[in-house]
């Protein structure tokens, strides 16, 4: 385990960053599909739409909403990191950029997730 952490936290951290980008990208695709499906329910009348909205108002979906925030932040900040590198940012700092994007992402996530948790999950 120590070797795995040393390997993927060290020389292969860039590959981990790309894997994170892929996984979060796929999760966002799943979310997008669900979102489009819900909006599509408008065509079936207001009752169908209300039913879908009621499902998404459950505490489980509120927790998933918080997770979605984390996924969006990870994907956006890591994407920004890749864009900076593609534009010619100092390559030697790519690992530092990844760590910074994770740190900044965690702070933004907490700033959004804590109020969301209290207002939508605990209040129910």
């Amino acid at each position: 385990m120590k070797d795995v952490i040393r390997k993927y936290g060290g020389p292969f951290s860039g590959m981990v960053a790309q894997l994170v980008q892929r996984i979060t990208g796929l999760l966002l695709l799943v979310y997008l599909f669900l979102h489009v499906r819900t909006v599509y329910a408008l065509r079936e009348g207001p009752e169908a739409f209300d039913r879908a909205v009621a499902t998404f108002s459950s505490p489980l979906f509120k927790l998933l909403e918080i997770a979605l925030l984390g996924v969006v932040i990870l994907h956006a900040l890591n994407g920004l990191r890749i864009t900076l590198i593609d534009l010619g940012a100092k390559h030697a700092s790519q690992r530092r950029l990844f760590v910074w994007s994770l740190g900044a992402g965690a702070l933004i996530f907490l700033a959004g997730a804590i109020p969301l948790f209290f207002s939508s999950v605990l209040r129910r």
């Binding site: 120590k2 070797d3 795995v4 040393r6 390997k7 060290g10 020389p11 292969f12 951290s13 860039g14 590959m15 960053a17 790309q18 890749i82 590198i85 593609d86 010619g88 390559h91 030697a92 790519q94 690992r95």
Partner: protein
């Protein structure tokens, strides 16, 4: 001297050897000791033993490295796992065939294709580019490349670096041909996902991902 457990992925399966090694001894020394004391049939390659030829490239504790330049004590583990380089067909034990690597190398037309008297011109040194000339074609970047593992057609970092050097050589007259090969959607520079594995493991500290990034920007600009 300290005792180490060396786990070698051989052709017949993983074998474990216990050897005593000094603080300054390399993974290559460990292999020679195993060959002398335990298993004379153990197959591995080496030549210069000073990190110049790239012949002893192999995977050590999951990271491709030169065995001669890897001090076992620096690995910070009493268990050392040695395996043949990934992304290459194994011939025997730790010996791999570099044919797929050189197949890609040939695709980018590695030799200088000058035009007439210009070929003899003296090129002024460029500090950014001269570092990239240090490639010893060890295949370590090729073995570490995550894209190469899933896309056999990908040129690989070393071949792209070589093409970059030729393209930036003012004497070269075939840069258009090379750019065309590098611009290929499936096997060219656009296949690179900027993982930095190649840069992280290169024993000559060549920033190969930066080379690929430069080529991408050159192509976009043209």
């Amino acid at each position: 001297m300290s005792d180490y457990q060396i786990r070698i992925r051989r052709s017949q399966g993983t074998r474990i050897y216990k050897v005593a090694l000094g603080e300054r001894m390399s993974a290559l020394d460990a292999l020679f000791r195993i060959q002398a004391e335990h298993e004379s049939a153990l197959a591995f390659r080496c030549a210069c033993r000073v990190g110049m030829c790239g012949t002893c490239a192999m995977s050590i504790n999951g990271v491709p490295r030169l065995a001669c330049k890897t001090r076992v004590s620096a690995l910070d583990s009493r268990v050392v796992a040695i395996a043949p380089l990934a992304n290459f067909p194994v011939i025997q034990d730790l010996v791999v065939s570099l044919e797929p690597f050189f197949e890609q190398w040939r695709r980018i037309k590695p030799a200088l294709r000058g035009s007439g008297s210009d070929t003899l011109a003296i090129v002024p040194p460029d500090p950014v580019i001269s570092r990239k000339r240090d490639c010893i074609t060890c295949g370590i970047c090729y073995a570490a490349c995550g894209v190469k593992a899933s896309h056999a057609d990908f040129l690989g970092p070393a071949a792209i670096n070589r093409a970059f050097l030729r393209i930036h050589d003012p004497r070269d007259a075939a840069h258009r041909d090379r750019l065309k090969i590098l611009n290929d959607e499936w096997s060219g520079v656009w296949r690179c996902h900027t993982q930095f594995n190649c840069t992280a493991v290169c024993p000559k500290k060549i920033d190969l991902t930066e080379t690929i990034g430069r080529l991408k920007r050159t192509m976009l600009a043209s």
